[in-house]
């Protein structure tokens, strides 16, 4: 063990607080970021060691590990304290975010250790989302790198306002003040517009302990605080108690008929008994009559407190509703702009639908457009059609129902959201709301002549009959027969035909995956208008992607969208080949032809499955009509239900 590891003379140990006192101090959450080999893990290991968070048995395990797999010769390899997973040890890199805990008599700390590898930017954003300060590690020999800029910009976007510029490995440049000063000057020039409130540069050696908790004798020219000294004293605002009151309802508390409370964590501001509040989504007002906790009622509570509010009036405020200060209401909108950090391998393409979780609300949402891609090295904004893994962009989002939010710059709690893939359930994006688009606070008006009125006059219930299947399976043939029979029965119908639409409405679309998705989306919207008119809409589209069809279904009321799978094997379809398309595809004249080269995803549970190897399409059409007739006579959807959609 090198002499410099001796901790006998450290401040943190000599002024230990009395052991019987509960630690009466705040918390600082911070993250460390930097490039591979800048020494992040070593720095965190060193911090843990110097604050006595490393105990004897862990230290002896560390000595063993250092000898076995360490990269520091005979010295203790502090990085091994924090690189937990087997694969990481083998590769010598951190592959995930890890959280570490230590405390000094002045403060408790939670450290997010985030990776420096470029492809893991999403983890940096993850760590930064719950941190108030970032330590940016810089190798004194290398100065500012692309990664330093990238991490600074991400930290700034996520809303971190305090930076420590940890200029590490200062021993390897001979403790040279000129090198230090040059890096600090470079950084200040770069970061001047990033909105940081404090930037503290410190010359360090994580490996040897210079300026970690005691001022290093090797840097007499440096008069600033040590790293721990700065972390203990830097002033950060952990709770947003100054903003307007917000409580996203998390759980409605109803133990019996006499008690009805709204449980949740206060997301912003303060609330007192007697305060007026409004349920932002519904616009219903009331006053706070009690603030209930297990430990007794409170006269007031503030941001960060997990409480249960009882209101004076019986207003409805389900999970997802936001109780707010009526004088400073949050935004209620279905369209807004947002910054998004994309976290999935699959590209973010406009038109796709995701689940959006904001506060305690989860709603289906679509990214309508990508305004620009933000280059996190140069801050340049470029128009793009998609965002890839780790890309950051400004996008327009549309939610299926109005959502209550604040701009992220005003409230992290009510401005942050995640996007969840509805089919894999993966978290694919992290978002920060910027502003509402178009008209806000506008509620739809019920028209005098609504869809119920329009369908009543036709004595039918509107429906969409969606025929899907391989080219040549017989979709159009069957759909035509079905329409003729329905017409004969006095039903009001219309037919949407793929080829016809592609010559008109969709003439701008090609056959790549994104265009196919958009094609189907437009058809769905047209079908919706037709059902609003009270019609039975027949659609015959290959529509090869299950996800596209499932998204369509969501645009309609339950039982309104009838998926009809015209099921015939590709060989049978190719043999029929009514338009000669299979032959052309096989000759390579048509790219991305479903059935030849491009996959068709059959429905998992269609309302109707037709065995299209059956030679008589009449029999198949009769089956469809029989089912449709039972549905058509069903009760009309109420106007209220449909206007929600």
């Amino acid at each position: 063990m090198p002499a410099s590891l001796s901790t006998d003379n450290l401040d943190v140990r000599t002024n230990e607080a009395p052991a019987d006192a509960a630690p009466a101090r705040g918390l600082l959450r911070f993250l460390t970021c930097g490039s591979v080999d800048d020494g992040k893990s070593t720095l965190i290991g060193r911090l843990l060691y110097e604050t006595s968070a490393v105990l004897d048995d862990q230290y002896s395990a560390l000595e063993d590990d250092s000898r076995r797999v360490g990269t520091t010769g005979d010295d203790i390899d502090f990085a091994l304290l924090v690189d937990g997973l087997e694969a990481e040890r083998e590769q010598g890199i951190t592959i995930d975010v890890a959280y570490r805990y230590f405390s000094t008599p002045r403060r408790s700390f939670i450290v997010a250790d985030t990776p420096g590898h470029e492809q893991y930017t999403r983890n940096m954003a993850t760590g930064a989302s719950n941190a108030a300060l970032a330590i940016l590690l810089i190798d004194a020999r290398k100065g500012l790198l692309t990664q330093t800029r990238r991490h600074s910009i991400i930290a700034s976007l996520i809303g971190i306002r305090h930076i420590v510029l940890a200029i590490n490995k200062i021993d390897l440049v001979g403790y040279d003040q000129k090198k230090f000063d040059a890096i600090v000057a470079d950084y200040e020039a770069f970061a001047k517009d990033l909105g940081f409130l404090t930037v503290q540069a410190i010359p360090l050696s994580a490996r040897f302990g210079d300026n970690i908790s005691v001022a290093s004798p090797s840097t007499p020219w440096y008069t600033g605080p040590t790293l721990l000294g700065h972390l203990e004293t830097v002033d950060v605002e952990e709770r947003d108690t100054t903003g307007p009151f917000r409580l996203p309802v998390q759980w409605v508390n109803r133990p019996n008929l006499d008690f009805r409370g709204f449980s949740g964590t206060i997301a912003g501001g303060r609330v007192s008994v007697g305060d007026a509040v409004v349920a932002a989504g519904s616009g219903k007002s009331s006053t706070v009559s009690r603030i209930v906790t297990f430990d007794g009622d409170l006269p007031a509570a503030e941001a960060g407190d997990a409480v249960t509010l009882v209101l004076a009036d019986e207003i409805d405020a389900p999970r997802g509703e936001v109780l707010a200060d009526p004088r400073h209401r949050p935004i209620v909108a279905t369209r807004f702009s947002a910054r998004v950090v994309w976290m999935a391998d699959e590209l973010l393409v406009p038109g796709r639908s995701y689940n959006l979780k904001l506060g305690t609300r989860t709603v289906p949402a679509t990214v309508r457009a990508i305004t620009h891609y933000l280059d996190v090295e140069t801050l340049a904004k470029t128009p793009v059609v998609s965002l890839g893994l780790n890309a950051i962009g400004l996008v327009e989002i549309e939610t299926l129902v109005p959502i209550v939010f604040d701009p992220y710059t005003e409230s992290h709690e009510l401005g942050a959201f995640i996007l969840i893939d509805r089919f894999t359930n993966a978290t694919v994006g992290a978002g920060m709301a910027v502003e509402a688009l178009g008209a806000t606070h506008v509620h739809r008006h019920g028209f005098d002549v609504d869809r119920a009125a329009r369908s009543d006059i036709k004595h039918q219930r509107p429906l969409v009959l969606w025929f899907t299947g391989l080219p040549g399976s017989g979709k159009s043939t069957i759909a035509n027969l079905v329409e003729a029979k329905l017409h004969a029965l006095g039903r009001h119908t219309t037919m949407l035909d793929g080829d016809a639409l592609r010559q008109g409405l969709n003439a701008d679309l090609g056959f790549d995956a994104a265009s196919r998705t958009e094609n189907i989306r437009r058809v769905g919207e047209v079908a919706r208008l037709m059902t609003d008119a009270g019609l039975i809409v027949l659609c015959a589209f290959v529509s090869p992607f299950r996800a596209d069809r499932d998204r369509l279904r969501e645009r309609f009321a339950p039982d309104e969208f009838i998926e009809i799978f015209v099921d015939a094997p590709a060989e049978v379809c190719a043999e029929r080949d009514p338009k000669g398309l299979y032959a052309q595809a096989r000759e390579g004249k048509i790219a991305a032809f479903t059935g030849v080269g491009q996959e068709y995803e059959p429905p998992l549970s269609p309302e109707i499955q037709l065995d299209a190897t059956e030679p008589d399409p009449e029999a198949l059409a009769v089956r469809v009509v029989e089912l449709v007739e039972t549905l058509v006579l069903g009760a009309n959807r109420s106007a209220e239900t449909s206007s929600e959609l």
Binding site: R25, L27, L85, R100, N253, G296, A306, K357, I418, T427
Partner: protein, 327 residues
């Protein structure tokens, strides 16, 4: 049988049952750090109740579980927590733990389900007969999976903390498990802000750790501040122990295979963590109150899991167990 009265956490104030909330929140007496941890944990617990179909709270009877149960009661007050407790009984727990478990469930009026891997019992699996690894695999990991499958639970709370062990440090608060309960550390969902992705496919489940950000220190300070009852084994007392591989193992019943001529020594010991008695090392201690325990902890130089025999196989043994479905 332990009377409710002896569930006192400390030698000081007795635990009140069905407490009447009077003073303005003992939360006000908490340090800002503990108050923050408490609120964050309550938020997590409520989120599970709101978003999962059938949650269950794993009750291990230890100090962390004690804190987790306390937080769950706070989260839903004046309602009762809307989920049952589940204890996976390896049949080798300390007898005092079982007594305490039953007394707590009764005092809180909480639905407690106990699961034993009966197949393991029939096969005679135990820490002495089968070794710690096989015992843990069959009676703990397999038993847990059986109980979760049988109950059809889609979310299970556990009291694990990130500061316990290196591989735990990277675990999410909401940790996704496949239909076969496996954990894939390479395929974890990023967890941003306080927005937990609770969506799972049919048959899959979530393990949820409301105490992720607590340290052992925080747990004891909180137990003291909130006067939470804990198993008396945490307090030093004269107990019969023998030394095995450098660890002091308590002879808790007559299944303990003593060497010929070996007699247990009576020593003043306590436990920092509680598990199966043959696999849990005691420490010599004079700490008989919570204040003593905290004082001892502040000056301690070994970690709490040091007494756990099952962690010691190799540096990464916890990660392997977790991938197989261990909590």
């Amino acid at each position: 049988m332990l009377s409710t009265d002896s569930l006192r956490a400390d030698q000081g104030t007795p635990v009140t049952t069905g407490r009447t909330p009077t003073s303005a929140a003992s939360a006000r007496r908490l340090s800002p750090h503990l108050a923050w941890l408490e609120a964050q944990s309550i938020h997590i617990i409520r989120e599970v109740a709101a978003e999962f179909r059938k949650p269950v709270m794993l009750y291990s009877i230890g100090k962390d579980s004690a804190v987790m149960l306390h937080l769950a009661r706070k989260a839903f007050y004046p309602s009762k927590p809307p989920f049952p407790l589940l204890h996976v009984d390896t049949t080798w727990k300390f007898r005092e733990m079982i007594t305490f478990r039953d007394a707590i469930a009764q005092e809180y009026g909480w639905d407690l389900r106990v699961h034993v891997n009966e197949d393991g019992v029939r096969r005679g699996i135990g820490p002495f007969a089968s070794g710690s690894a096989a015992h843990t695999q069959v009676m703990k990991t397999e038993a847990l999976k059986q109980a979760l499958d049988a109950g059809g639970y889609d979310a299970a709370f556990g009291g694990a903390r990130r500061d316990e062990e290196k591989s735990r440090a990277k675990e999410r608060v909401f940790s996704h498990r496949t239909a076969s309960h496996a954990w894939d550390p390479r395929n974890q969902r990023p967890e941003l802000w306080h927005l937990y992705n609770t969506q799972i496919a049919k048959g899959e489940s979530m393990r949820v750790f409301p105490l992720s950000n607590w340290t052992e220190r925080d747990v004891w300070h909180y137990i003291a501040a909130e006067n939470i009852p804990v198993v008396p084994l945490y307090f030093a007392a004269e107990r019969p122990v023998v030394e095995r591989d450098g660890a002091l193992i308590m002879v808790d019943d007559d299944r303990f295979p003593l060497a010929p001529g070996e007699t247990p020594q009576i020593r003043k010991v306590r436990f920092r963590t509680l598990g199966c008695y043959p696999l849990t090392g005691a420490i010599e201690s004079e700490a008989v109150t919570l204040a003593d325990i905290i004082a001892e902890l502040e000056s301690s130089s070994v970690s709490e899991r040091q007494g756990r025999v099952i962690d010691k196989d190799t540096g990464a043994s916890m990660e392997r167990k977790k991938r197989e479905g261990y909590f």
